[in-house]
Symmetry: C2
Subunit: 338 residues, 2 copies
């Protein structure tokens, strides 16, 4: 580690910890940097993130960005919470297939449903994305938006991870919760921009990440408005609408926010266009990849992974000097203690 | 006017003005109600709006709504600014046709462009909605999102109304600006939900209404993400995407906010489904129609109007006891003084 100016400013070099990062624009800037992002080792990524926040928050400074334009976007699966061995929403989908099976006797003889009902989830998932989409369409539609939310709400409070045994909602990354916090304390508006279902995520993002429904962008199925006995409802249709992945991410950001983010966090090639879009803004920007390097405490995967493949993105991050978080080396803890 | 409890509570009866409405949850509740919404006469609509705000803001009260759920949605054309003799965005569209004509020699012989270029806007507009959509597709696409915003930005600062001679952006309703203000001062998040173009409105809503781009919902054309010489751009396509009108409004709200509003303001049958959706929430709700009754200072139109038709909505508002603002009787001023 070089003892350059950056480290000294941020007090990240042992014995030099006088610098501060503001807790809130309006509040006195008194939180010592050593107390900010405590689950992070005092290494490169933490320093780069804090330096960026300091730069854009410094009124009169050359990199100053006014609070309303401090938009930070985060991928969800693999960036804010784990995504192995399958996306957690796939687990919900499989559970829904089992729960809805009595109303669909034909599923017993029809793949991929057949495999799920025979107890072989892996065989169902091995049929690839089209099979998963088939199950999503069948299990995420044919109900009102309120009925769907109620179903997810019930599920997320009890669903557990197949290998860790933890509640899925506890498999969020503590260091990333701390990034969300320091950004919000410095007047950033934090958004999720995920390939996952927008209505699926919205049920729990406020509780889990402090991100309200209106700051969640994701994939969606089509919906229609109708009156049922004089009561208006929004009904979910078995048709894929918007896919918020790859080229879809900048489009989702444009549609929902109408501003270009100045900070973007992802973990896979599916996030690359979002990072490119962020990096191409006129002012300062921060592009960050979470690199899964910790086979012991989490998972280690990148270029050849089926889920969360990080190949082109890793090359581009290195070429452009983006921040790449080495999970194993830089995160003191991965998941929240309790 | 009946001297009922409501008027007395709000201090709206002459000589009784001791009651207050909170300026901000966290601030002392010291703004006298007579200073709130000063462009309104002390009549029914003002009282109903303030009473609702007071109810949902009263901690521990039976109608209390926590700040994060205080979502208020506003139609734009005819609700926040004027919409006669044609929607203002149609004026932009016609100006664009004239400006882009040199690059489109075929327009000279092709309706509705032909009429516009021959100086007969009315003849072009008389060709109806399909003709207007044809012009919108031709003039709002084939450029990046940034180029489009720049075009609207330039236009909105100089475009004037054909009969009043005012800048269009000054033809906003002063009384509605005051409603936006009192809602925001009481921790409401204010959104625009309009049939107008989302990217058109976003250029000026922050300056004109104090509503940032991420709180604007509207109709859109399709866009695509692409790299141009290594620079990512979002390009507008000549295809209509989402229409944020009638049944589209609750869907736009669901997609962008993911919460049901508790207050909705409109002026036409195109807003009816948005008001129905708001009214059908579990807690308290406020549904308001702006009724154009002032032929002298603004325009008077409702059941038979081509633009801003208010027919079914007026019946439903009366049947359900929604607030109907009588513009002529209730608004002291219509447009801002300067």
């Amino acid at each position: 580690m070089k003892f350059n100016r950056l480290y000294i400013i941020l007090g990240l070099v042992s014995g030099v910890s006088t610098s501060t990062i503001s807790a809130k624009e309006s509040a006195p800037k008194t939180t010592p940097v050593t107390q900010v992002m405590p689950s992070w080792n005092a290494a490169k990524s933490k320093a780069e993130i804090l330096k960026f926040i300091e730069n854009v928050s410094e009124e009169g400074g050359e990199h100053y960005v006014k609070p309303g334009d401090r938009i930070a976007v985060f991928d969800n699966d693999g960036t804010l919470w784990a995504e192995q061995p399958v996306y957690f929403q796939a687990m919900y989908t499989l559970d829904r297939v089992r729960k809805m099976a009595p109303q669909h006797p034909d599923w017993k003889d029809k793949e991929p449903f057949k495999s799920v009902l025979a107890g072989d989830d892996n065989k169902a998932l091995a049929q690839g994305e089209p099979a998963l989409i088939e199950m999503v369409k069948a299990t995420h539609s044919g109900m009102t938006t309120e009925e769907f939310s109620a179903s997810v709400r019930q599920w997320i409070h009890t669903a557990k991870h197949p290998t860790s045994g933890k509640l899925l909602k506890q498999m969020v990354y503590q260091p990333m919760l701390e990034v969300l916090e320091v950004l919000r304390n410095n007047d950033f508006k934090t958004y999720i921009v995920s390939g996952g279902g927008i209505d699926f995520m919205r049920v729990f993002t406020e509780e889990v990440y402090g991100i309200p429904p209106e700051q969640v962008i994701g994939s969606s199925i089509e919906v229609k408005f109708e009156m049922r006995a004089g009561v208006p409802v929004i009904v979910r249709e078995p048709k894929i609408g918007f896919i918020d992945d790859k080229e879809g991410k900048p489009i989702g950001i444009h549609t929902h926010i109408g501003k270009r983010p100045i900070a973007a966090f992802g973990n896979s090639d599916g996030d690359l266009q979002m990072l490119q879009w962020t990096a191409a803004g006129k002012g300062p920007s921060l592009c960050v990849y979470v690199h899964h390097t910790d086979a012991e405490r989490e998972w280690a995967y990148d270029r050849d992974s089926h889920i969360g493949k990080l190949d082109k993105g890793l090359d581009e991050a290195k070429a452009k000097g983006w921040t790449v978080i080495d999970m194993k080396a830089e995160w003191k803890t991965i998941f929240p203690e309790k």
